[in-house]
Symmetry: C2
Subunit: 397 residues, 2 copies
Amino acid sequence: MINREYLAMLGNKSVIRELSEYATARGKEIGYENVFDFSLGNPSVPAPDRYRDISIRLLQEEEPLKLHGYNPTQGDPRVKEKVAESLRRRFGLPYTPSMIFPTSGAAGAIAHALRCVVEPGEEVIVFAPYFSEYDQYVGRTGAKLRVVPAKTDDFQINFEAAEEYFNEKTAAVLINTPNNPSGAVYTEETLRRLAQVLTAKSARYGHTIFLVSDEPYRDIVFDGKTQAYPAKFYPHTLTCYSFSKSLSLPGERVGYVAVCPDCEQADKMVPMMGQISRGIGHNCPSSLPMLAAACCLEDTSDLSVYETNMNLLYDTFRELGFTVPRPGGTFYIMPKALEEDAVAFCRKALKYDLVFVPGDGFRAPGFFRVAYCVDTEKVERSLAAIRRFVEAEYPDR
Amino acid sequence: MINREYLAMLGNKSVIRELSEYATARGKEIGYENVFDFSLGNPSVPAPDRYRDISIRLLQEEEPLKLHGYNPTQGDPRVKEKVAESLRRRFGLPYTPSMIFPTSGAAGAIAHALRCVVEPGEEVIVFAPYFSEYDQYVGRTGAKLRVVPAKTDDFQINFEAAEEYFNEKTAAVLINTPNNPSGAVYTEETLRRLAQVLTAKSARYGHTIFLVSDEPYRDIVFDGKTQAYPAKFYPHTLTCYSFSKSLSLPGERVGYVAVCPDCEQADKMVPMMGQISRGIGHNCPSSLPMLAAACCLEDTSDLSVYETNMNLLYDTFRELGFTVPRPGGTFYIMPKALEEDAVAFCRKALKYDLVFVPGDGFRAPGFFRVAYCVDTEKVERSLAAIRRFVEAEYPDR
């Protein structure tokens, strides 16, 4: 017999995936350029030329046995050194290579970080809205995901509601800032208050509650601002990073976990991740993409496109009367739908070839996500369609 | 608190890893060229030039957004098509792309294949000697590993001993041919008999027992022979492959699972693997290395070196009076130690700067593994050291 649990999952199709498939099919009818597909978070600006040039140089100049050989269980020392040095310089925390664990993207990073700090039967708290894959990431560690409802005025953390979610089983809190799906950038104030809450709850329950901070959108922040660095506010932080968004490399699956130097048992974490990887089949990220990315720590793709797109959409949504927190970063915006049922709202939008994702899957019912990692020219063309949709379907808004 | 199970694993250092570290340290004293380090299974012949050339061409000619973009959950269609076509042609089974799941090396392949066909509490049978990481690969699925003792005259399968290991909980059998650590190549006769046993036991216990076949050494076979293809003998086979050895790319982590077309519920397996990857943080292998490897399905590194090395060592061991089954493939040979305690034997060998791995970890106590993926020149120099070691330590053998 085959595994019944995974077999049962085949029935549950991802809403995002279904909408994306709809968009592709519709594209075949009317031309994909005419489908305003805002469903998927796939970067729309190419990787920097330097990433390509460095990859080619490594292939041409490095000894193949060394370039493509097995890495140590805890990762390529060159990569660890470069990442630690960059984090030290950028964020002023004394990272050393032994605190860096290279991974297969953020998914791999979170898989390892969570398994370090939670045990089956414990609980992990997340704040809505959150990336829906967290259900799997947390569920497969044997821990239980507890979801604190969203603070829908600005998508910062709903601390009042959070109060009752902490208990003696709370092992970790998992945050994502800048946030997918809301575009919110947690402020210093939010992170300071979160640290206070975690410190108080750790004291109350007699064990450290760890912070797992998922930061693939760290470098996509608008208005000339930067993302405050969560590990600076709370020492027991495992920072999960991916180069998917900053270097537009989602398919290459490269990222890392950085264990905060002052984290409880910091020196044990990376060796534990080495052990964890044996049982889940990871054994380090791919050598060449990881090494090339580590040589591009100061580079990014042209991320300014996302800010341009955000402003176009934000202004239009506002003008049309939407309630919509202004995103501080990412390539997502999350307005309130014009009727209570965001699924019905998104279904109506499809008639205008607008593909939005209902917020229900992100635990923000009544809202919808717009992923604007598409060409600006297409975003511009979409504005008229949004206007037509809203004026025709919600004339009395 | 951090996870106690993984924390406890930090104490158990791998014997292979310790020996390899010893060899490196000793190398710093006397020059690594003077340490006959036969501890690690890291390929010693470079990747083919074509792999490098194709990688560079892909980087230069493919659109970066497409080359480095997210792959579908079930893998890059181009990779799946190429692998299916190659397997059809080589082995005459009607594979289609939907039966191929690209993975992060063989470790990733086995992680997914096992989770498809076993459930926690069930049992997986392996035949000693076996790659010691299987303990982790199987253990972390929640299933129990059952180890059938070795057939030490030729390291084929010990069918007599196997009889009592099957029961109603047996979900799968995990084989590895050509075999690490013994170098044995399972014969057609062995695979036919294994299929008969699996068919009979499946009937007896009322459920299909699956075969997970780990084949990273498929292309390293000696004497002009080839490895018989296990899935041709038993339909309920999930074949796990890695390009680590054939293309000398262990650090790039690329491989696949191929689900035999006649396997029970064959159409469900790859979609299930897509679900499995969400929970263990995989999300496809890296795009560029996987695509480049899939363009090199007809290529290999210069694997003839391993046969040359094997013959040098085999002849010397024979001449010195060792009992040693002749390897049919891989880059390993597994002679019987000259005293009962192979650990003591290997410790004595270190005095002669010979680094061998005791068979205990592979569940072949009394034997030792010699990994001859080293330069032939070094193997030639090692022969005198082996001779000195044996003549000095075991004069009365």
